[in-house]
């Protein structure tokens, strides 16, 4: 598999594996120095906002604590479309830009609603064992998220 295809598959896999709530599987796709953020811009206060920010250990704690919290159990589905893959062979990295749509499906009746749209800005480490996620910025266009959600996108 060529590098570009492997990177594209990694990004898509990261969404599908989170859809299954396979959090260990997700963390296995991440480099040790992984950084995750959810960000957006508020036109109301004219400021960039960071709504969630964790390193790999922080993401693991978040996942480990999920069962202790009361959460909306409606499953979500991440539809990711990889748009740009800029590979820097010398740095052993790639910058990847994707669009993301998140749908939420009710448990009772199975009605699906569009939950959020935005972009993924990923940095991918290119190692001998294949590509790994080094950082992810989920840049949301949607800011009205109803009663919210406990699991990161």
């Amino acid at each position: 598999m060529d590098t570009r295809t492997a990177i594209t598959e990694l990004i898509h896999r990261s969404g599908l594996i989170m859809d299954k709530c396979d959090f260990k599987g997700y963390l296995d796709l991440c480099a040790p120095d992984y950084q995750y953020r959810i960000t957006t811009y508020s036109p109301e206060i004219r400021k960039d906002m960071t709504w969630l920010e964790h390193d790999k250990a922080g993401m693991k704690s978040l996942f480990d604590n999920l069962h202790r919290h009361n959460s909306d159990k409606s499953p979500i589905s991440r539809h990711i479309n990889v748009c740009l893959v800029d590979i820097d062979e010398a740095a052993g990295e790639a910058d990847v830009t994707s669009t993301i749509e998140v749908y939420r499906t009710t448990l009772d009746g199975g009605e699906t609603e569009l939950f959020a749209v935005g972009k993924l800005y990923d940095k991918v480490a290119l190692g001998q064992d294949g590509p790994a996620l080094r950082s992810r910025n989920v840049r949301l266009d949607t800011r009205l998220l109803g009663y919210g959600y406990h699991i990161p996108f």
Binding site: I38, S42, P43, E44, I45, R46, K47, M49, T50, W51, L52, E53, A57, G58, S61, L62, D64, N65, R68, H69, N70, S71, D72, R143, L144, L145, G146, Y147, G148, Y149, H150, P152
Partner: protein, 401 residues
């Protein structure tokens, strides 16, 4: 023992101040009455001064009583508020939530207004209205505006209202010394939930629901001092909750807060509920402000703001943002749980579900699990509405006669 239909409908065996009829959360006529008698009479937070720092900066606000508003800073740096309604054909004047407008021009027919509410131009006015009507007749409707209590912009659409200071009274006493430094909003988001605004304010007025929050149970409820926190009620329906030392590092993946707040003890947490739907929530390093804007009896828009000190270094601000979002952001541990709670109440109490009563019966010497904060709110609600919260249509009173 389960109950049959008759037993289910029987009033709870508490004093009348200790329960409410759920129709106060669901009935359209009561909601319209609340807009008229409560929201259009009380001081409401429209925004924070840091959102409009420069001359001619404006911010729009959907007032819970109904009128759309423009909050604008004049050339004299005074903040004023006007209806966001063109006096000509009733069009919206400013569409964007924030901006800078030396001249407010209606897109429909180009009537223009300045930042003190004067009409300054009517296109082809003389030709159309001759001397019958002019700019002097077409000023914007101004709304009473005051800044205070942490730099918030308060509005009151009742021209005959008391002053903001009179309205708040002593209710902010526990926080005032912590709000002396200029503040800045760093977080803003809205949530729309199918529930009644009072149920959200109730959630901010009782801590018994900490059983819903794993984070609060671990870092607060099982820690020393938690059950010593007390509610204090104030005139006009406001209430405060005393502080304790939250043990943030008791939650896996969390740690003791590195940034504090002027005058607040480490790990401190003070909460003040302002009638009818605003809450100051100063939790160790962050001030959160909720503003409840009902859109209907069972539809609520909540504005959430997070504030730090204007003097923050970038490192301090980043830490406050992390502290805020860990529990209170849209992906935070606590906010989602609180919103799920009131969403569930909205589901169960909507019209024709045969929901009947909500009990506010806990008495624990006004300490943290006492439900006196809610009782205090509904006493004021009943006074302003001229309806008893436990008997909003006077049926019990009529039957007793």
């Amino acid at each position: 023992m389960s109950r049959n239909a008759v037993e289910w409908k029987q009033a709870p065996s508490f004093p009348e101040s200790h329960y409410v009829d759920t129709r106060i959360y669901t009935e359209e006529d009561i909601f319209l009455d609340e807009q008229r008698k409560i929201f259009n009479k009380c001081w409401i937070i429209a925004c924070h001064e840091s959102e409009i720092p420069n001359a001619y900066d404006y911010r729009t606000f959907s007032h819970p009583g109904g009128p759309p508003l423009i909050v604008i800073r004049g050339e004299d740096m005074k903040v004023r508020t006007f209806y966001n309604i063109c006096p000509h054909r009733g069009n919206t004047l400013l569409y964007e939530p924030v901006g800078n407008a030396k001249r407010i021009t209606c897109i429909f027919h180009a009537w223009s207004f300045n930042a003190v509410g004067d009409c300054i131009d009517i296109s082809r006015g003389k030709e159309g209205y001759q001397d019958r009507f002019g700019c002097k007749d077409a000023g914007l409707r101004e709304v009473k505006t005051e800044l205070g209590f942490g730099g918030f912009v308060w509005v009151n659409v009742d021209d005959d209202s008391c002053t903001l200071k009179e309205y708040i009274g002593e209710a902010m006493g526990m926080l005032e010394e912590h709000l002396n430094e200029p503040l800045e909003v760093f977080h803003y988001h809205k949530a729309i939930v199918n529930t009644n605004y009072k149920l959200w304010h109730d959630t901010n007025s009782e801590f018994y629901h900490d059983y819903m929050h794993y984070f609060n149970r671990i870092t607060g409820m099982i820690q020393p001092g938690y059950f010593d926190r007390k509610y204090t009620g104030y005139p006009n329906g406001h209430a405060s909750v005393g502080s304790m030392a939250i043990k943030y590092d008791a939650y896996e993946g969390s740690k003791a807060r590195g940034v504090g707040w002027p005058g607040l003890a480490p790990g401190g947490w003070v909460l003040i509920d302002i009638f009818p739907g605003m809450t100051y929530n100063l939790r160790t390093s962050v001030l959160r402000m909720d503003t409840a804007i009902p859109l209907g009896p069972n539809k609520l828009l909540i504005e959430f703001r997070g504030l730090g000190l204007k003097s923050d270094t970038p490192e301090q601000r980043a830490e406050r943002i992390r502290d805020h979002n860990m529990i209170w952001g849209p992906f935070g541990r606590n906010l989602h749980e609180d919103l799920l709670g009131v969403h569930g109440q909205g589901l169960a109490m909507r019209e024709r579900t045969d929901s009947r009563w909500v009990i506010h019966g806990r008495e624990e010497n006004m300490t943290i699990h006492d439900e006196g904060g809610m009782r205090h709110f509904y006493a004021e609600w009943s006074r302003r509405m001229g309806r008893k919260a436990y008997d909003p249509y006077g049926e019990q009173t009529a039957a007793a006669k």
